[in-house]
Every structure is written in structure tokens, then in C-alpha cells.
Amino acid sequence: MLCDACGKRIATVHVTKVINNEKTEAHLCQECAHEQGQMSFMTEPSSTFHNILAGLFEPETVISGRPIRTRVRCENCGLSFGDFRRLGHLGCNHCYETFHQQLEPLIRRVQGSTRHTGKVPRIEGRERLVRERELERLRKELAEAIAQEAYERAAVIRDRIRELEAEQD
């Protein structure tokens, strides 16, 4: 949701006022809320988990020695990397492409990995990926079976791998 006042930045301050039973709602960005004095009751935006998370990215700019450009905006939703650092939230799936470079080290640090190995949606064109993940799993199982000298099970797994490999080609 974009700010009611400037229409440019993302609204993060939601103000509901009830005066003489008249209810008004305003959705403002931090800057506009400050200007309008709507945030006088808060000193800093609440230090939620996301702020802390967002804070995690800060050292990145220092360590790499070159500042990350925070002005680039996602062309799908308009979010900048600076917005993300402040909010701790991305704007849309396209942001993951726009900010790929900046997100990679962060995701590695938070998640300890940058490669998904779990469920894959069975939408068209993804059958290949589904098979690839299945193959990885089977190869791991095969190695385990061989290590345990469970050759009968290994043979079954090997056949299944061959089948899948044939489908891949």
C-alpha cells in the first residue's frame, strides 16, 4: 500500500482517528507521518524483529568496501533496497531478482544455505526441476544403501535413477 500523502513511498504508519464518532483512516509513509506529526507518540519505529533483521544487512556495506546502491527500485512494485532494509520485508517476487546480488549474502547468513531442496510446485515447465530434486535424493539414498551393503535396495534405487535419467534426456 502506498502512502496517502506522497503516493510514492510505502505506507508503514496506519492512523485511525475517531472524533465525535467520525472515523478517519490514513496510511502514511514514515517521512510523511513525521511531517504531519502523526508519530509524535513514538520516538523510533518500534524495534520489531524485522528491524533487527534489517539491521543485519548494514555490515555488508562496510565489509565489502563499496556501498550498496540503495536507490535502485524494483520495477514491479517500486520498493528500493533501502526500503527493504528499513522494513525487513521485500515487496514482491520480482524484488528477489532486482536485489539478487544484495540478498545472496544475507540469505546465506540467515539461512546457512542458498539452495532450495524441498517441495517444488508442479506447474508446467517445472517437471524437470522436480525430477532433478528426486534424482538428488535417490543418489543420496543409493550411496547410503551401498554404505550399508544393502545391495538389493541399492539395485532398486539404481533402476529408478536410470528411469528418471532417461526421462530427463
Binding site: N76, C92, H94, H116, I123
Partner: protein, 354 residues
């Protein structure tokens, strides 16, 4: 059945007190975060886009071949009265955030309350399943199935490398958060809980209070959940969380045995004193009630208190909350009034039949 009937029916599936390890594990929950490709995430989306998500999910729910339409109901949050929203929060069917800014939020409720789907919470969809006892795999299977059904009509935001794309990068990958609710009275009593929490973090897990992030540890009930959502399969995450929880269960059991051998008299004294207060109090706060109920539940588990069912802990845990008390009394109650009705409800529920 209307939503009103659903919430009036009061008790959810997870509060039944059944399932494996139910002397220590209260419930297991799995939650999947999903988003629709091309539409900004809820925090950033405009009104039209949020409305579009609600409409898309409403349609996808109708077409979802994996869910029985008789069993599920799609409800727009705006149409849910304030009190009923709180009832849903208290039963863990929706998050507290889901009761605010409700204009373009919705929830799909399964009638036995074993599953719910939040629409336009932090992500477009949050599919969750809640089961009594240690049954993470069953909870995952139910979520997975509901998810398979939505996948037939919704194009999910997904990347080959990073998996399911979510509003917050801490959920990216599987989009799965699995959690187990455990009752650890003796580990808490003997001060071992802090150590356990430290150890658990080393294993990539998080410990939270009953109602999620930043909530207090009411009644010695802790929620253990996975931190990492990327790089492991759903089954691996569940296996890991289950293994660590099993260790904690073993420690709690060992501590219970130890205290029974070494300090049975003091323990019995403490349990009966707690029972005494609960069965005679005329006004009681949630906090005090939960602490004492934790003792009573321990007494039941150890066979020191007979004639009461163990499930009163999870049942009362929800029923003594403000919205449930008001629903039961059929009117709004001030805080002091709630304390009075809470005490009366507990007295009635923990009475030992003669």
C-alpha cells in the same frame, strides 16, 4: 454451519489432549507461506491488488480438489465481529496481526479447526495445520495436501534456487515453519529451562512463548520451531525438530522421575496447594491461573491428582482468555469481572467428582 457456530463449538482439534507424547507435548503446528506470482506482497500491495488476492484465493478455494467443500469455509475478516476475531486468535487459528487492517484479509477455516488458511497476512497465503500431541508429520501432510490443491489454480512465486519466495527472507525456501508446543514444568521449576533454550538455539531452533514472538512463557508452555527454512527438505526440517524435541521430552521425564524420588513430599505439597487455590479462588488473573494450572497438570501426569483429565490444561489455557470468557458469558466483561468469571470457570472444570 456459520462462523458463529464454528467459534461457539469452542474446542479445537489440537485441544483434545490426544496424540503421541501427550503428557508433555500439547500440540504440533506446521505453517506454509505462499505468494502469488506478479502481485506485490501484502505489506506493499495496493487496495486493488489486495482485493484481487482475496478474490483469487476465494476462487481457488472453491476449485481446490484436495479439500472437501463441506469441511471448509471462506470468510472475509471484515465480516467477522471483533469478539470472534479474538476467539480465533486465542485458539491459534489466526495471528494477532490478522485482526488488524482487516479490509482485505480473509481466512479459510476447517470445521474441526485442524487447519486454517490466512489470506493477506504477511504473505498472500499462510496455510497452517494444528494437531494435538507430537504429530508434526501429520500436520505437514495436511498442509501439503491443501497446498497441492491451491497449486492447481494459483501460480506461486517460486525460484529454482531460493524456492518459495516470501515477504520476509527468513521464510524463503520451503516457506515452512514447524512448531511444537511443550509443557515443561519440572525443567522450569529446577531452572534447567534456560540452559535448554540456549542449547536449542545451537541446533538452529527457536524457543517462543505460547502466542508467538515476544510473548511470555505462560504456564511453563514453550514453543519450539525451526529457524532455517532454506536448504533442507520439509521432511528433514520436521525430523530434526522432532529429534531435538524428543531429547527435551526425555529430559523433562528424567527430571520428573528425579523429583518424585528426591522431593515427593514437597512436590505433592506444591501441587495440592496450587489445586487448593484454583478450587477456592473467587478472582484470578490469567498469569496466576496458568502457573497454578501447570502444577495441577503435572500432578495429573504423575498420578498424584486423580479424577481430572489432563486435557484441562490446554482446554482452560484457551477458555480462560478474555474473548472466550466473554463469549461464554454472552456479554462484554471488564478486567475485574473477567477475573471473577475465570475463577468460577476453573473451579467448575477442576472439581474432582466424588
Amino acid at each position: 454451519m456459520s462462523l458463529g457456530d464454528i467459534v461457539k463449538k469452542m474446542s479445537s482439534e489440537w485441544m483434545k489432549g490426544t496424540g503421541p507424547e501427550n503428557d508433555i507435548v500439547i500440540g504440533s503446528r506446521v505453517r506454509l507461506a505462499r505468494n502469488i506470482v506478479g502481485i506485490p506482497f501484502p505489506a506493499v500491495a495496493g487496495e486493488d491488488q489486495l482485493r484481487q488476492v482475496v478474490d483469487l484465493v476465494a476462487k481457488a478455494t472453491e476449485k481446490n480438489s484436495r479439500i472437501n467443500p463441506e469441511m471448509y469455509e471462506f470468510v472475509r475478516m471484515q465480516e467477522v465481529p471483533l469478539l470472534e476475531r479474538q476467539l480465533l486468535v486465542e485458539k491459534h487459528l489466526i495471528s494477532p496481526q490478522h485482526t488488524e487492517q482487516v479490509k482485505y484479509k480473509a481466512v479459510v477455516l476447517r470445521k474441526d479447526e485442524a487447519a486454517s488458511i490466512m489470506v493477506n497476512e504477511e504473505d498472500h497465503l499462510r496455510i497452517q495445520a494444528l494437531f494435538p500431541g507430537l504429530q508434526l508429520l501429520n500436520a505437514w501432510e495436511l498442509c501439503n495436501e491443501i497446498d497441492d490443491g491451491y497449486e492447481e489454480t494459483l501460480a506461486y512465486a517460486f525460484s529454482d534456487d531460493w524456492g518459495y519466495l516470501t515477504s520476509c527472507p527468513t521464510n524463503v525456501g520451503t516457506g515452512m515453519r514447524a512448531s511444537i508446543m511443550v509443557h515443561l514444568p519440572v525443567l522450569a521449576m529446577t531452572g534447567q529451562v534456560q540452559r535448554m533454550m540456549g542449547a536449542v538455539t545451537q541446533f538452529g531452533l527457536a524457543v517462543r512463548g505460547l502466542y508467538g514472538e515476544g510473548t511470555e512463557f505462560l504456564g511453563n508452555i514453550f514453543q519450539l520451531s525451526n529457524q532455517v527454512t532454506l536448504g533442507h527438505t520439509e521432511e528433514e526440517i520436521i525430523q530434526h525438530l522432532t529429534n531435538v524435541t524428543q531429547q527435551i521430552i526425555n529430559q523433562e521425564r528424567a527430571a520428573r522421575e528425579h523429583i518424585l524420588r528426591r522431593g515427593k513430599t514437597q512436590l505433592e505439597d506444591r501441587i495440592w496447594r496450587s489445586y487448593g487455590i484454583l478450587s477456592h479462588a473467587r478472582s484470578i488473573s490469567t498469569q496466576e491461573a496458568m502457573q497454578l494450572l501447570s502444577d495441577v497438570r503435572l500432578g495429573i501426569d504423575l498420578g498424584l491428582l486423580r479424577g481430572i483429565e489432563g486435557r484441562i490444561l490446554q482446554e482452560l489455557l484457551v477458555m480462560i482468555r478474555p474473548a472466550h470468557l466473554q463469549q461464554m458469558m454472552g456479554r462484554e466483561l471488564s478486567a475485574p469481572e473477567r477475573d471473577v468469571h475465570r475463577a468460577a470457570l476453573i473451579r467448575e472444570r477442576i472439581a474432582i467428582p466424588r
